[in-house]
Amino acid sequence: MIPPSAFFAVAVVLFVLGVLAFFVKKDLLTQFMSVEVMLNAGNLAFLALAKSLGKAEGQVIVLFVITVAAAEAVIGLAIIVLVFRQRKTIQTDELKDLKG
């Protein structure tokens, strides 16, 4: 039997990779994808905890997280499409009008 801590380790690595990708990447779409990676790492941690505590509530939370992620993806992509339409770019280096 695989101990939940092993899944926890995978979740931690996944989350850190997501954070890394968010800061390393320079285009809005890939940064948005790395947010999804972080959400998934959270899901994995929830399920590992649900398993180790023997409770089904963790799985319910995962369902909610996936639903919220779907809603967030729709809105986020709509915003990115809007930014691309107005500025003709989604590279974050070129979107710096708010810089003081």
């Binding site: 695989i2 779409l29 899901n43 996936i66 499409v81």
Partner: protein, 165 residues
């Protein structure tokens, strides 16, 4: 056995996210993420959460990532691929399609002929999940449906707007 599956799945999952960081092509990034989320679905299955695994593959790897791919295709309009690459890809696609067809055929045959088909998942777990959703978490569930409606209207209001309007 379980450890082997665990290592393969977690290697795929972490490796494809690492590949996403290294790759520069957005479409490749999205496909890497599909691979990552699918193997994550397998990990969910290892954690005795078959329903979450199915939702992960269907909603995340399926719906959300396809949405990303659609968005990517709106952004980078690169030139046509060279013909040779196109042919190689066509062959690869055809091969994979045949493989999938054979796989589905085998699975369907087992199901129709009875025998040792896919064992029905232990229904107790999913039933318990549904019970939780409609009793303890009823308010959260209803609020989620409102959230999805709001997201739908918001996306239409944002992206459906004409330029300059």
């Amino acid at each position: 056995m379980a450890w082997t599956v665990f290592f393969i799945l977690s290697f795929l999952c972490i490796g494809s996210v690492a590949a996403m960081i290294l790759s520069r092509n957005q479409a490749h990034n999205a496909l890497f993420l599909v691979l990552s989320f699918s193997s994550l679905g397998g990990l969910f299955g290892l954690l005795d959460a078959p329903f979450a695994a199915a939702v992960q593959v269907l909603v995340y790897a399926g719906a959300i990532m396809v949405l990303f791919l659609f968005a990517i295709m709106m952004f980078n309009l690169r030139g046509e691929l060279p013909v040779r690459v196109k042919k190689a890809r066509l062959a690869l696609t055809a091969g994979l399609g045949m493989f999938l067809l054979a796989e589905l055929f085998l699975a369907g045959r087992k199901l129709v002929l009875g025998g040792a088909g896919v064992a029905p998942a232990a229904g107790g777990d999913t039933a318990r999940l549904g019970h939780f959703l409609f009793s303890d978490y009823l308010y959260a569930f209803e609020i989620t449906s409102l959230l999805i409606l709001a997201a739908l209207v918001g996306a239409l209001a944002l992206a459906g707007r004409k330029e300059g309007a």
